[in-house]
């Protein structure tokens, strides 16, 4: 089977083009470096199946990081190279084009972002460019599919350029300059009000104000959408579901099976939060409490990503992240971690050095509350007003900074400077945003929900067998004097090691004081969120660094819990 490789600079529209050609959904984002691995897909070319590869972005064949190395190594597998070029940054993209032509493989150029180029008054003489490069050049607009048919039609015309070989880097640069002067003319544009506003979002004072405003709007949107889904989607469904559950409860009668499936009845009725049965709490926690906010969160994140604001946020926050051994790009794992820690830890991959990846992964898994943990925080403390909730998030933020400072001092390795190409602001397309949200939610349901569910099952069985109670008796004295929590809260802290969100149901009936609840909830949030987080840390960091991260987590939880106790009680 023939293999077609899509290759080009970061953020030129390769992924959008890839999903256009293959029908495979991939995540495309308006910030460079989203695709770290390559993706494979298939399409039918004139009745024949061909394989299509979506390479990570690279500015040149002289790779400077992991992702770029992947892109370059894919060249050997390719029979045909589709070089995706951003028509608005022709000069920059042509470096790779010229390098590719030297590879003596069939090449065709997709001149993407054609719509934006026209909008900006950039005129490119496509005919002339074809003549100079001696390979086909097709203007495309990947997001509207304009020109895609033409690109596919002309794939067969891809050919090996017979241009004379260039010697050395200097010649390549000179040649690129040459070509651009010949084929491109740019209409002069004034610095508009819009440009000034856009500048203001990366400048120090105004940039911070924008960042705070945007993050505030993000959380407001998550709450609004999340609560909306719960009110109009979740509640009606779970109200209907009460009938079959009550019937099952009556039919089973008291006993072990009833305890495991339905759980304990509160005042003779099933309580979705406190009953702890697999078919009650086990379903309600992931689908009724966490999923609505996950949907809302991924929607907000997609809007943020596709607008092009994230690289600007990374620029503005760079200063702070540098103190923590990271740089501005560290905001990406943190933001993703607020949804689910697993993709957050995975995103740490895009950082350059091992030290940065370790710090980012540890900070995310220890201090960044995932949506299930946030659900717990709100579930337990919601009745006591915003004060305690703010206290928990404030503590977590402080711990984020302090732990970062400590890790930066103790972990070995380098922290390179931020070097980032900022794409223009774009209006997010409704279709792209919906699709991306849907893909991430689908991923969450397939990969994370089973863990939520499993957590309920395991805790349930351990509870029914009396194992948690037994363990609790042994560690209770320590927990009591260190965290100032009554013995009855200890099972919740233990079960919380497996699943935080369950702890809500276990803590609420205990009638603890708000201060005690705050301590319990903070400690629970500082633990790793779940078994899945452990697994991903192990995979990304290796055994040794994972153990270090786990040690950091335990020490932080003990220290912070102890300090809170002294301060609050």
């Amino acid at each position: 089977m023939k293999t077609i490789l899509l290759i080009g600079d970061p953020n030129v529209g390769k992924s959008v083009l890839f999903s256009r050609l293959t029908g495979v959904d991939v995540i495309a984002s308006n910030y460079p470096g989203t695709t770290v691995d390559y993706l494979k897909g298939r399409m039918n070319l004139h009745g024949e199946p061909v394989e299509i590869l979506d390479a990570p972005g690279t500015y040149s064949l002289e790779a400077t990081n992991k992702a770029e190395e992947v892109a370059v190594s894919l060249l050997d597998q390719a029979d045909v190279i589709v070089n995706v070029v951003d028509a608005t940054s022709l000069e920059r993209c042509l470096l790779l084009t010229v390098e590719l032509l030297e590879k003596r493989k069939p090449v065709i150029v997709a001149l993407n972002m054609w719509d934006e180029a026209q909008h900006l008054g950039i005129h490119i003489d496509v005919r002339e460019l074809e003549n100079i490069l001696q390979v086909p050049v097709v203007p495309t607009v990947a997001i509207t599919a304009e020109g895609i048919k033409e690109l596919v039609r002309r794939l067969d015309e891809a050919r090996i350029s017979e241009r004379p070989r260039l010697e050395g880097e200097d010649q390549v640069w000179t040649e690129v300059g040459h070509i651009v002067r010949k084929v491109q003319s740019v209409a002069h544009r004034h610095h508009s009000v819009w440009d000034r506003l856009s500048d203001a979002t990366v400048q120090s004072g105004t940039g911070w104000l924008t960042a705070l405003g945007v993050l505030f709007a993000l959380f407001w949107l998550v709450r609004l959408v999340g609560e909306g889904i719960i009110r109009y989607g979740v509640e009606p469904v779970f109200d209907l579901y009460r009938l079959p559950v009550a019937a099952l409860s009556g039919w089973l009668g008291p006993g072990f099976l009833h305890d495991v499936l339905v759980g304990t009845l509160i005042n003779g009725k099933v309580d979705y939060v406190q009953s702890m049965g697999i078919l009650t709490t086990g379903l309600f926690v992931p689908f009724g409490m966490v999923l609505p906010y996950i949907i809302a969160f991924y929607l907000a994140l997609a809007l943020l990503e596709d607008s092009g604001y994230l690289p600007r946020l990374a620029t503005v926050t760079d200063n702070v992240f540098h103190k923590l051994g990271l740089h501005g790009h560290g905001i990406i794992p943190v933001l993703l971690g607020l949804g689910c820690n697993v993709p957050g830890v995975l995103a740490a991959r895009t950082l350059e050095t091992r030290k940065q990846r370790f710090i980012a992964a540890t900070l995310v898994s220890v201090t960044v509350p995932c949506m299930a943990q946030s659900a717990m925080i709100f579930g337990v403390l919601g009745h006591y007003g915003a004060r305690y909730i703010l206290l928990v998030y404030g503590t977590l933020s402080a711990v984020f900074i302090l732990l970062g400072l400590v890790l930066n001092k103790t972990a070995h390795g380098e922290c390179p400077e931020l070097f980032l190409d900022i794409p223009p602001y774009r209006r997010p397309s409704l279709l792209a945003v919906t699709k991306k949200t849907w893909m991430r939610v689908r991923w969450f349901v397939a990969e994370a929900v089973p863990f939520l569910f499993l957590g309920v099952v395991v805790v349930n069985i351990l509870n029914a067998l009396g194992i948690i109670e037994h363990l609790a008796r042994h560690v209770a004295p320590f927990m009591q004097c260190w965290f100032g929590l009554p013995g009855a809260a200890v099972p919740a802290l233990l079960a919380g090691f497996l699943r935080k969100d369950l702890a809500v149901g276990m803590l609420v009936p205990l009638a603890l004081s708000p201060a005690q609840l705050t301590i319990a909830v903070t400690v629970l949030t500082l633990y790793f969120p779940c078994v899945a987080a452990f697994a991903i840390l192990l995979k990304e960091l290796g055994v040794k660094d994972m153990l270090k991260a786990a040690l950091a987590m335990i020490l932080t939880a003990l220290l912070v819990g102890g300090i809170l106790r002294l301060v609050l009680m």
Binding site: Y59, E62, S89, R92, D199, T315
Partner: protein
């Protein structure tokens, strides 16, 4: 001529790149995002505490650390 390192430009200044210092890898990296000899650039933002700089070149914004900016020599437009 008014030669200086990029890191010394003030917000709002425009300048032309005249030379790149530093290793081959570094030079290659900055050239490949458009920071090449002869290009006109504008300093869009300078962050405090030795934070990053944002420059505009060929209608695109690029964030670059101070250390890297020090290795880029420019001539300020008067």
């Amino acid at each position: 001529m008014n030669e200086q390192s990029l890191a010394l430009l003030k917000q709002g200044d425009t300048a032309t790149i005249i030379a790149l210092h530093g290793g081959c890898g570094f030079q290659h990296r900055v050239r490949s995002v458009g920071l090449k000899e002869g290009k006109l650039l504008r300093m869009v933002a300078k962050h405090h505490f030795a934070g990053p700089l944002v420059v505009e070149v060929e209608r695109r914004h690029i964030t670059i650390g101070r250390g890297m900016a020090q290795k880029i020599i420019v001539a300020r437009a008067l």
